[in-house]
């Protein structure tokens, strides 16, 4: 019985790792705004992201976002930004790195223009530089 309980605890631990995004304010943005008619949500798990050394990719793109949508997402991003260890903010975009846990990096990317709003949450072993070089390379 003890062994079974231990097994369950391990599996629950794994599930918690898989749901690391839980507990972040931006989770509400994904929940609330992904159902909007102009929204596109993308979720990819570790099995599909091996080549990027990432374990979760979750994005929300809203075409022609309304003022209310922009404000809502921005407020949620700001709430998570308070615990960020690295912040990069310009008029067009925001980038935050959240505290590292268990060798994993956690990033929030946010970009808002009048044409589109993109909110991306990423977690994985890859560092910001590695991710950056990977996706900038893709375009070249």
């Amino acid at each position: 019985m003890k062994r079974l309980l231990l097994l369950i605890m391990i599996l629950q631990g794994l599930c918690l790792v898989a749901h690391a995004q839980k507990g972040l304010a931006i989770e509400k943005a994904f929940d609330e705004l992904a159902v909007e008619k102009n929204a596109t949500e993308v979720v990819m798990g570790a099995g599909r992201l091996k080549k990027y050394n990432l374990s979760l990719f979750h994005s929300l793109e809203i075409k022609n976002p309304s003022e209310a949508e922009q404000q809502r997402v921005e407020a949620l991003v700001q709430a998570d930004a308070e615990q960020a260890i690295l912040q990069e903010e310009t008029a067009g975009h925001k980038l935050y790195e959240l505290p590292k846990r268990g060798g994993m990096h956690f990033f929030i990317f946010y970009r808002c223009t009048s044409q589109s709003l993109i909110l991306i949450y990423i977690e994985g072993k890859a560092s910001l530089k590695q991710i950056e070089s990977l996706f900038l390379k893709k375009q070249n």
Partner: protein
């Protein structure tokens, strides 16, 4: 219960000689647990029977008690569900437009969004 201690003493002796039936052993066991058997003559029989009882219960635990079966089945179901859930989360690749899941290349969308994002940062 027979209160004649000499009867029980004789039975205990026969027990050590392996001449008792299972029914007699059960009677002896019951007697040894009673207040009549406090006499030191029965210490040896009590100790032996206690030891045997402990050894027997360790060798054959009540494995298939109905509640235990239910608990094990519930644990296995939970473990299976969590494992399946974990596997599904691990391999998830989903695109939803307006809340509706659609057939689309999530990898391509991811690359497009990430490239756009880093290009805007780079500028």
């Amino acid at each position: 219960m027979n209160s004649d201690l000499s009867y029980w003493e004789a039975l205990a002796e026969r027990y050590f000689l392996a001449e008792t039936s299972e029914q007699e052993e059960a009677q002896l066991r019951k007697f040894l647990c009673s207040s009549y058997a406090q006499d030191s003559r029965f210490d040896e029989a009590r100790a032996t029977m206690s030891l045997l009882h402990v050894c027997r219960s360790k060798r054959r635990p009540a494995m298939w008690h109905p509640l235990r079966v239910v608990a094990v089945a519930a644990c296995l179901c939970l473990a299976f569900f969590l494992g399946w859930h974990q596997y599904r989360q691990h391999n998830i690749s989903r695109v939803r437009i307006a809340g509706q899941e659609v057939e689309a290349d999530a990898s391509l969308l991811m690359q497009k969004q990430m490239t756009e994002m880093f290009n805007s940062i780079d500028q």
